[in-house]
Symmetry: C2
Subunit: 290 residues, 2 copies
């Protein structure tokens, strides 16, 4: 097992030190100044990354051959949604696209899937592909966590595609709209149980986090989950459909504020309400593989 390093922030389903509360010594938060006014924090975050990059093998970020991104506030807003979407939605015929329906999908899920598929033809909705690993989605982009590639032979999978058997774990498809909203059709399988016959609250939390992450990235290069808050309302029965309606509420000071209402197909039952904050950061072009 590799030596434990203090890692950089997480991308697509990931995390970052938040400039809130007392900064722990040795964390990225120690580079941020929580007492600063909100308007000054972005510059501090930017400086934080620059400092972190300069530190290299020393100080709080010692030990990692990290390639931290050049952060340009102009270009962080410069990428068009179109270019982000076209990069994210590349055809990869050699990879299984888990967004496509399978025999385990319940009628509600199939019906809504086809409804949104129709909307991709006229209403601007985009069906997002879903591969087994984020490695496939970020090919050609340099991440803040561009560590040296190890000879890792294990079967790495994105958490929300962790179970291979159709219908047993996560079944979902995400549709994104350039007006900065998305819909996730989520059907939890029997391996996602909490109480008997109902989905674990944590499985819904992870589904919300993943939908937030993809939405944040496409809507405005939101990369790092700063926080996630969920108010649970009702249970989701295993094998049934939950529809996650996700909206980017605002983009301000290099942060995206995102909300979610998860409800039944007929909208009569609210399963949960959630909010999350993501930090914008630009990915650079890179030809290296993960």
């Amino acid at each position: 097992m590799p030596k434990q390093h203090l890692p950089p922030p997480q991308v697509l389903g990931g995390t970052l030190d938040q400039p809130q509360g007392a900064a722990e010594k040795g964390s990225l938060a120690s580079l941020l100044q929580p007492c600063q006014p909100q308007s000054q924090r972005s510059a501090t975050i930017r400086r934080g990354f620059q400092v972190a990059a300069r530190r290299g093998h020393h100080g709080a970020l010692a030990g990692g051959p990290y390639i931290l991104p050049r952060f340009s506030p102009a270009s962080a807003f410069g990428s068009s949604t179109d270019s982000l979407v076209s990069r994210f939605c590349q055809e990869k015929t050699d990879l299984k696209n888990y967004t496509l329906p399978n025999a385990s999908w319940c009628p509600d899920m199939l019906n809504l899937y086809h409804e949104f598929l129709e909307k991709t033809k006229a209403d601007g909705w985009i069906r997002l592909p879903s591969f087994k690993s984020n490695r496939n989605h970020i090919q050609g982009l340099k991440l803040p966590l561009a560590l040296t590639v190890t000879s890792d032979k294990s079967d790495c999978r994105i958490f929300t595609r962790c179970i291979k058997m159709e219908g047993q774990g996560y079944e979902y498809g995400i549709f994104f709209h350039p007006s900065k909203k998305s819909v996730c059709l989520f059907q939890p399988g029997p391996s996602l149980e909490g109480p008997p016959r109902f989905a674990h609250g944590g499985s819904l939390a992870a589904m919300i986090d993943e939908t937030f992450s993809e939405t944040a990235y496409l809507a405005g290069e939101g990369l790092f989950t700063l926080n996630l808050s969920i108010r649970f309302k009702n249970l989701i029965r295993v094998g049934s459909l939950a529809v996650l309606n996700v909206d980017v509420e605002k983009i301000e000071d290099q942060k995206l504020y995102i909300s979610c209402v998860a409800q039944s197909a007929d909208r009569q039952t609210v399963y949960a309400k959630a909010s999350g904050t993501f930090l914008q950061l630009q990915l650079e072009e890179d030809s290296s593989q993960y």
Copy 2:
């Protein structure tokens, strides 16, 4: 697929309508009065369950053969921690106990596991068993969601034990102390990825939710997750150890307020800070099987 019902609140990794904000029509929240002072809410919740139980097949909770619990404020506090623990920690020699170490555990995890195992001998710590389903943990207890048992032949698993292969998914062990705190040793495997080589934020969220749920139940019959909030700090490398230190901060007005700090084994890196609220509710004896 069974007809979609409005389900009752979730137990052990579960959810419940929260008396906050406008109550949605047709949800349990509609039985609670958000405008009430905090001190009056417990009585309202209690009445809510009584109303729900009386409603049976009618109204907001129509369609379900639910056996909602008799809620007694006295007995909700009456079960001793000892009795809750002894029920939860029954020896089940016919079931695999996933808390036991396996070859995939990293040295940090093994060392801390054995350290806490020593503490079970003298310091009052209790190693919690972990079976593949909550069905095994709640045998003999009547849940609020005691639905008619269906002939479900699928392989139901608790979400945090969803991956069978050792080291590939969730590896964890939880130790509980009757002073109302617990420690979860959590090692995410390569199927729990978010960004390449790091755990998905949602996998940590689910691990926190599960640890909160078990702690809330043992510390004071906390059954229903009302909310969960996580501030992410740093990434957890796949295959390494995160130590979740969980404390019940207070028990008030039939609610448990729980906090968590997730950090590296050497305590130098904080991965996340979290808080959650759980509602107390007493389970009744029942001889039926799930």
